[in-house]
């Protein structure tokens, strides 16, 4: 792992990976949305409104996934003092907050025609909202100190404490039987969603993972360059 601790090596490696990841993200998302919007059938109850799912569900997965990545990077940063891990965690946070916001907004737009309301205080919705505030708290805490390393470390501890929310999000629909529907893809005995609807969903989700990788690498490269400029200018 410390092979990749060298920022110069990371810059070289990420420059080589970026175009491939960007192409993969573009192709997968394009195929996925073509499948979702033109090939997948409308739902027998929800009609065409079900297409919101193809944005909502992958961004919901990404919201949790990015938080897990961020918490893992924070743990690595605290335990091994890995120099790139803090940068990775801090670069991932705004992306994760973005996915969480997309998930909340698309869910709200989906809820209005289906449930008849923009928002309910359901366990799943509430725990995702808490996740959004955890992202915001992480970003605020990381930037709240004059000493940047102190901010990074404090934020890393917060990220690890917040991991407790991830299982709550995952199991909230099983523990509290409320308006949000239960899991239908990752369930025992295989998915209960039709294959024609499942494949675009999975393709888009994979595309989103690549999109996240692209954005993360871009943000990390920018953060490294910013640190370099600061060092050149102020000699710190």
């Amino acid at each position: 792992m410390h092979r990749f601790a060298n920022p110069a090596r990371f810059m070289r490696l990420s420059a080589r990976l970026l175009p491939w990841c960007a192409a993969a993200a573009a192709v997968l998302i394009a195929i996925g949305f073509y499948g979702a919007l033109f090939l997948a059938p409308p739902d027998y109850q929800q009609g065409e409104a079900v297409k919101i799912m193809y944005v909502h569900v992958p961004s919901a997965w990404m919201a949790s996934f990015v938080y897990a990545v961020m918490a893992l990077a924070s743990a690595v940063a605290l335990i091994w003092r890995h120099p790139l891990a803090h940068i990775a965690a801090e670069s991932a946070a705004p992306i994760g907050a973005g996915f969480t916001l997309i998930c909340l907004v698309s869910g709200s737009l989906w809820g209005e025609p289906m449930w008849g309301t923009w928002w309910v205080w359901d366990a799943r919705l509430t725990s995702v909202l808490v996740l959004f505030f955890l992202y915001l708290g992480f970003i605020a805490l990381a930037n709240a100190f004059d000493d940047r390393t102190r901010g990074s470390r404090a934020a890393a501890i917060l990220a690890i404490v917040g991991v407790i929310n991830l299982p709550i999000i995952k199991f909230s629909v099983d523990w509290w039987n409320t308006l949000h529907q239960k899991a239908s893809v990752f369930v025992m005995g295989g998915p209960t969603i039709a294959a024609s609807m499942l494949w675009p969903l999975l393709v888009i989700a994979t595309g989103f993972v690549f999109l996240f990788a692209v954005m993360l690498m871009l943000r990390m490269r920018a953060a490294l360059l910013r640190a370099k400029v600061r060092a050149l200018r102020f000699g710190t």
Binding site: F133, G137, A144, R150, A154
Partner: protein, 221 residues
């Protein structure tokens, strides 16, 4: 254990000698609760319906108000560094600080809450559950708050930041606290909610001191 009690008595003595802190928290709690009848109108039925929620939300805010001084005074005058050098684990010291914080905020709030519940026409059947829920829930507020207070030591605008970090983590306590109090007031079983609150208390008692101590070590580096 002697170090624990020594630290606890020190913090309690400091709190009482400086005076005002406990009174301020209780006064804020009472005033904030009293605002609600003016805000939503004096209708007894409406007040009774929202009373459990009002009591819990304001208790939560009152506890939050006093969190900032949990470590800050010791951090400012340097005694926190001296404490960190003691052979006693920092985790135990955090526990002692949380205990002192609870005795000067959570306990007074629990004692005052029934009186304020009376003003809000809270159903008489709910009192035992309300008190039990507050006794189980307010220590969790102190323990989770200790993490936030330790993380924001020395930050710019620490107070605002502290509420942004801590309030989302308080939501489970609020949910089960209100559920227990309301269930009892409506004549339903409040035991499951109280058990969940107890589980929250046990979990945070076991985990929060570690996180807060880790944050303190970062702050002292």
């Amino acid at each position: 254990m002697s170090a624990f009690t020594a630290l606890l008595t020190r913090d309690l003595r400091l709190a009482f000698r400086q005076g005002g802190d406990v009174a301020n928290v209780v006064a804020f709690f009472a005033l904030a609760v009293i605002l609600f009848p003016f805000g939503v109108g004096p209708d007894p039925d409406l007040l009774a319906r929202i009373s459990a929620g009002v009591l819990w939300v304001t208790a939560l805010l009152a506890a939050l108000l006093s969190l900032e001084r949990l470590f800050d005074a010791d951090f400012q005058d340097g005694s926190l560094e001296a404490l960190a050098l003691m052979p006693v684990p920092l985790e135990i010291q955090v526990l002692a600080k949380c205990a002192a914080h609870w005795l000067t905020t959570g306990l007074p709030l629990t004692i005052v809450a029934p009186v304020l519940a009376l003003v809000l026409h809270f159903d008489a059947a709910g009192y035992p559950a309300l008190i039990a829920a507050l006794l189980l829930g307010t220590p969790v507020l102190s323990l989770i708050g200790a993490i936030g207070a330790a993380l924001t030591l020395g930050a710019r605008r620490a107070g605002v930041l502290l509420s942004l970090l801590v309030l989302p983590l308080y939501i489970p306590v609020l949910i089960f606290g209100v559920a227990a109090s309301e269930a009892a007031a409506l004549g339903l079983e409040s035991r499951p909610h109280l058990l969940l609150l107890a589980a929250l208390f046990a979990t945070s008692l076991a985990l929060a001191p570690w996180a807060a101590a880790a944050a303190l070590r970062q702050a002292l580096e």
